[in-house]
Symmetry: C7
Subunit: 94 residues, 7 copies
């Protein structure tokens, strides 16, 4: 199954990082804050969105930071994704 976002939307998959505390205890992903890091899975075509021209500047495979709580969470083939507007992507991590 393939997901094709519309307009200036982007599909991302959150990256949950395992983390070791100073005392050496591993915190599993669920014990931490909502992650803000993600990989881009699909990119919409851009074009005229709400009467304004939007050019897509992110690409599939990029690792990005995004606004916490932005977008809609969806489940496809039992996996969790987030669909958000490109404007909710803050930065690319290189």
């Amino acid at each position: 199954m393939k997901i094709r976002p519309l307009g200036d939307r982007v599909v991302i998959k959150k990256i949950e990082v395992e983390e070791t505390t100073k005392s050496g205890i591993v915190l599993p992903g669920t014990a931490k804050e909502k992650p803000q890091e993600a990989e881009i899975v699909a990119v919409g075509p851009g074009g005229m969105v709400d009467g304004k021209q939007v050019n897509m500047e992110v690409k599939v495979g990029q690792r990005v930071l995004f606004s916490k709580y932005a977008g809609n969470e969806v489940k496809i083939d039992n996996k969790d994704y987030t669909i958000l507007k490109q404007d909710d992507i803050l930065a690319v991590i290189e």
Copy 2:
């Protein structure tokens, strides 16, 4: 009876998926979250909407993801539909 949406509106019919839990119990549709998946039933003509040109990019028969709680629920010939703006459709599933 035929329903013809105005402007950039789209009529969708939600797809309620029966789901089997890991233990094998079938959860009927009503026991789950509001579905976000739907089939497009009718598409408005687009054109000038609120002073902006809107081109319709979805087609009847497509399977789509839409914003939870978006749009208006209506009952036609005793069946439930949702009428929403094309901009509330997040992605097409292929």
Copy 3:
């Protein structure tokens, strides 16, 4: 008495449908949800509305679905009407 809506406004008369439950009991209109179906009674001239050109796409006599709670309810010659903006009409039923 004739009512002539201004700008992109439309006057509608709600259609209250009597409905029979499965057990055969007739539910009078007042026992149900607010109706969303209406007939168009008068259509404004359109034109420049809030700095934007609006063309009227509905006609007197059409049966339409409209946004629940949209518009203003008015009483003319002791009959109830609703005056709303064309944009609050979701779809035409044919």
Copy 4:
């Protein structure tokens, strides 16, 4: 004393209708809902309002329906008037 509204504003005088109940009791104006019917008393010049061209389409002496609670109530020479924007006038009654 003469009142001259600015921009796209209109001065109206509400029409309070005495009404007889089915049992024959006369309800004075104050016992009813806020009236929505009014006569136009003065019309502003229109022109550029908030960066948009507005043409005045109502005239002094017309009987109109207006949005309940719209506008500002003012007292001139001990009489009550309402000053509202032309866009808050829903329809002309003929």
Copy 5:
């Protein structure tokens, strides 16, 4: 001391009217509703305001009605003034 308002702002001085009740008692200004009548004391130059051209249509000395609660109250040389946008002036009284 002279006060020169910027952009589309206007400085007004409220007019507090003494009023006699039907029984003959004089109500001093402070016992009544906030006054809505004022005299224009200074008028800004207009011009481009928030990206829109605004022409000033009121003049110093005019008596006007203004939106209750609009604008900012200021004290200059121990006298109370209100500075508001021209758009908060409803009408000129002649």
Copy 6:
């Protein structure tokens, strides 16, 4: 240390006026309402701000009235300043 505001922003220093009550008691600045009078300390370059051309009309050294609560309070070299948009300046006092 020098502070250079961006866009249509202006840096002001509030003027706190000592005031004598009718009974002769001096009210120190802290016992009164938030002051609305200030001197302009720095002026941004103006230009395109949020897609609109803004020309700066105030100058360093002018005494101005500003919207109570507008802007951001900052501390530079242990002194308190407020940075606000030119549009939050109501009037120049001459």
Copy 7:
């Protein structure tokens, strides 16, 4: 790891200043108000943002004042940064 902000966004690193009270006690950074001073770490390319042309006027290395609570806090390589829009930067300190 390098962080590249999108559009008109800027990455800043807050500057926490140790401060000595009049009595000589050192207040560590955490005992004070949220700092408003920061150094610019990365600057987005600007360009068309929400249908408007934005030119970037700040540079990496500049010391700036920014709106308290503006932007999103992110953690990169275990260090805290804030990503905000250039418009949330109030002034450059020189």
